[in-house]
Symmetry: C2
Subunit: 706 residues, 2 copies
Amino acid sequence: MRDQAPENMPYFFNPGSIAILGASINPEKPGGRPLTALRERGYAGRVYPVNPRHGEIAGLKCYPSILEIPSAVDMAIIAVPSAFVPQAMRQCGEKGVKAVVVFSSGFAEMGSQGAALQEQVTRIARQKGVRILGPNCLGLINLKNGVMASFAGIVDAEPVTPRTLGFVTQSGVFGATIYLQALEKGVGFSSFVSVGNEADLEFADFVSHLLDDSETRVVGGYLEGARDGAKLRSVAAKALSMQKPLLIMKVGRSRAGSRAASSHTGSLAGDDQVYDAFFRQMGIIRIESLNDLTSFVTVFRSGRRPAGKNVAILSGSGGAGVVMTDKCESLGLNVPELQGATRRLLEQYLPPFASSANPVDLTARAETDPALVGNCLRALAGDDDIHTVIVNVFLADRLAPQITRDVIDFYRSTDKTVVMIAWVARAAKEVPACLDRIREAGIPLLADGQEAVRAIAALAWYQDKVTGPPVAEPESFSPAPEAKDLLAVPKPLTEYQAKRVLAAYGVPVTREGLAGSREEAVALARRIGYPVVLKVQSPQIAHKTEAGGVRLGLVDDDQVRAAYGEIVENARKHAPGAAIHGVLVQEMIDGGVEVIIGMTRDPVFGPVLMFGLGGIFVEALRDVSFRVAPLSRRDAEEMIKEIKGHRVLEGMRGLPPVDFEALTDVILKVSRLVTDHAIQELDVNPLVVSPRGAVVVDALLVKAEC
Amino acid sequence: MRDQAPENMPYFFNPGSIAILGASINPEKPGGRPLTALRERGYAGRVYPVNPRHGEIAGLKCYPSILEIPSAVDMAIIAVPSAFVPQAMRQCGEKGVKAVVVFSSGFAEMGSQGAALQEQVTRIARQKGVRILGPNCLGLINLKNGVMASFAGIVDAEPVTPRTLGFVTQSGVFGATIYLQALEKGVGFSSFVSVGNEADLEFADFVSHLLDDSETRVVGGYLEGARDGAKLRSVAAKALSMQKPLLIMKVGRSRAGSRAASSHTGSLAGDDQVYDAFFRQMGIIRIESLNDLTSFVTVFRSGRRPAGKNVAILSGSGGAGVVMTDKCESLGLNVPELQGATRRLLEQYLPPFASSANPVDLTARAETDPALVGNCLRALAGDDDIHTVIVNVFLADRLAPQITRDVIDFYRSTDKTVVMIAWVARAAKEVPACLDRIREAGIPLLADGQEAVRAIAALAWYQDKVTGPPVAEPESFSPAPEAKDLLAVPKPLTEYQAKRVLAAYGVPVTREGLAGSREEAVALARRIGYPVVLKVQSPQIAHKTEAGGVRLGLVDDDQVRAAYGEIVENARKHAPGAAIHGVLVQEMIDGGVEVIIGMTRDPVFGPVLMFGLGGIFVEALRDVSFRVAPLSRRDAEEMIKEIKGHRVLEGMRGLPPVDFEALTDVILKVSRLVTDHAIQELDVNPLVVSPRGAVVVDALLVKAEC
């Protein structure tokens, strides 16, 4: 079921009336600024200043208390010192206010005393059915109806249309800077929300609401850390199903504390790795800079989506064409050589020495022949192999009007994605009006070629995410009832127990058995077939090799008998008090590629799966990929392809590729296992994959402390 | 010896007189624009228009031919159609002109006919001792003395001071765009040179000259491909020794044709990999975008150089501080937690809930307390652990003057690198003058925090390159006379021969000998000690394993005898006509890490060395590093550290690290070998390195075709 935004949301974004507690006569103060801004931006509802020290502010009657306002109040802004906020909140509740924006600081951001005060305020609100934005926030604005519930400088900035971007930020000041700078670059906002301490409503709640807003075509955000990973996932899934792009700047990479963990997976899954994987999994476009935000929004809001990754570049400068081509190829876009009719047409218009291969170099003729750009565009129109066209031209007064007409005509005649990069002479007179016409036609217009390519690459990736196999739909297969009993042991699981749990989920494991004596070991070895491996099994011995508890490549009964004795003796010496369950007799697996499938529990997202090649690849190169459980088949396939060493799986040195379906199946079954049960850490290491299938050779499973 | 710029260079940049062949009365035309521009920018020398159709242009006497000009002419600009250029060049030569700028197009860029014409013009110039810039170029300008020998729009742009950047470009239009956009961002140029077809003087020549110019503190460039790698290397070494940064945008990555090659090294060394390695080796800062160019120049031209990689960040926005910290850490800079006295001082000035740890969050107090920034800066002044300070503040009218004074005072009181990022309210009145004062004080001022961090990281890297062990000084060791004889064989070398060449250079190889019979093989095996390896040796069999020509792990005489017979028989079947030199009997090497040292011949840079871990690391991950030979010890050490898998060498799973000195020595000796002799390709694969040293186990050597 699609994520639902909290039900009080309309009272934040479209209140019929607003009270301001702590209203001020000084329009520069938090309690004064919204009063001016609401009027200037044409808010049509009722506004009630509340302050016992004034009878009237800015021509409006001022009430000593919210309780004395004669009519109903939908939204309240609280701009009083923190110590008075509990009382203000109580009165809002009594008045039946549905939505409260708390500007005041002095709460959880100030240490434990502030946190207690915040807790108190939240408790009051919850009792009264009031929802809170903040505290310690810049508030929110809705440009559509002039709801200026903010004291930040953003309320003074002249709005820009079309209002396509809804924005939610966890940093007030930085968010406001983003707002102002994006506005200057021509990005129009529908709403802006600063969530502050998120005492009640959080980042994901507002994103969910903005997705429902019809005017908002793109939702952006600045995120330091999600409070509830599952909620963010559900909101991201909603965004994908609505095909509304989420562009989020996630920061705090370097803060990722390395967690103490006994598994590889735990030590490799830094916060940022997990967020990055989660974004990729859920189709969230990760914004790296403010430049990204403005260029991505400009390209995404056009609504055009490329049918593939092929780009044609028309460039008035050969050098700029090469720079963009480099950037395209480094980001996974293709700049294919143009062929056939397209090529022949281009050759008609271009000088004989020009490159018509792609990037198309318009040469100096672009500065003398105003029809050249239009002719070349028409040549590209019929080429179905081209999905995106970049037009990079120098606009001088004499040429600009015709080029503008031709680009707009081309844009209307095609469903290809089109991005225009215009270099403008500083003294140009005709050009500004031309640029306006291009923008009004809905054509993304940018100043920098490399930024344009980054945006196009993000759009192509997003389009693939939207149109490809479903994201986040776990595969269903029949449950495995015995796994629960297998997990119901008091101590940490041994390898043998862990493998039985995996087997109960249908994951293929090595043929093996647990021997309690030399002769049982020999009998098992004969049944399995030589050569075999012997490994001591004890809940207290996690690292069997270090304990001298492993013998490989045993080829006959005598070797098994001798190894059994040595292993048990070594284990007793190594861990005198350990309970030894016996010795695992296991078939010896030869050949194939060793991979790891691991799982760790992230504090925000819960179970996270890791995949990588075994041994030195993981340890030396950290060449691993992550996904948040549960995984869809697509997720599993993507995480296999994502590692740099995937070529090893595709068959090196004349070997055939491994059985990818078997590998994908194991990942999906592990995903199901860690979703069904409270598991803290799991390392399937190694899983040996070969052209003939996959088999678990060793596994470590740590249950969650319940 | 330091690279010397060609001796005619002063005639290009500081001519006493300029003739314009093909002078035009139309100031928009290539032959007209320089006339206006020379006057407007105050060129003090004599200017002679040359055109038989006019008696006077723009108030200057116009000559029918350059030969009729009564005085000497230092520089000529040729702006006539290409067919007339040979004659014009001849006349320039007769007149004794030293420097000719050829605007005209219609040469090598137009195909083979044009190339022949260009060849003719160049030959004439060479005979007469004339040096050429161009043809097919936008010319050059020198802002210091108004030499406007260009017809590009850049001559009309109002220059910016200080004139710190000298710029050389292989793309005219793109270079001009870079010039204009950088100017708008406040970057002042000393000179700008568009090199066009480089018929005579090339990119590196002009860079060399600009390095000698005292006003030019930073040299920038746009490079598609160097004509002469050795010259570029020598110019880069000159730049390093002068400590003048070279900032070069190199494009054409995706054009790297994959070369047909029999060695790993050859197939992995794409053009761009080699350029990238060369830049890193020679301390050239690679520019990725126009934003980089302007921000890097702004930071580099200050002349401050950080003593290390530690950065303190003072930020008016917590979010922006986190974003910059992330960027610092992703680029190898540290943002260490502040300690001791620094921390205690900061805590005095900041609110109790603020972070004084680093990044320092100035909190909302930054917007009310104008002394806060100054106080915090003074707290940092005494902290020797901090090498660079980033000040990121919002400048409002009320606060700006004091913050400006404090930042300037701090800058003058310290030798730390300081970068200021200012966010400015759009309506601010006082602020622009404050920003000017900051710029005038020499403090790098940027608008974007992430770009600032990129520039600081580049500066720290550059400073390390300048102050660390010498770059590009090959180690000297005694020559190896027998290598020449060993290489003087008519056919491709066998492994045994290749290893003897390496051994002659002091590279340790496996103990081994060439056997011509079963019994010789047995005798050799006994002398070497079992187990041994047998490998067939034939110049015609490059892939011995595929030919069935290798047997490993032979433990006694009988096995050696049997293997000898099989190997020879297999080889005869596999390659019936091959000359079999015998069978190599080689000690079997156990343990250690396999690495590859390879060499390929780059068309621009000559011999290029490659280093990587062996086997699957190179094949699946392409995790390799390159350096252009000859290598210094520092180069060899850096190329070892550069691969992602270097952790494997440092000792995984409790193993001790390998003998890095032995490994470095082998690389240096291979570098010397490929510098001394004409070798086309070399793969030392594998070299086995262990804590006890390094030994070559197999090698492929292909001589260059002479």
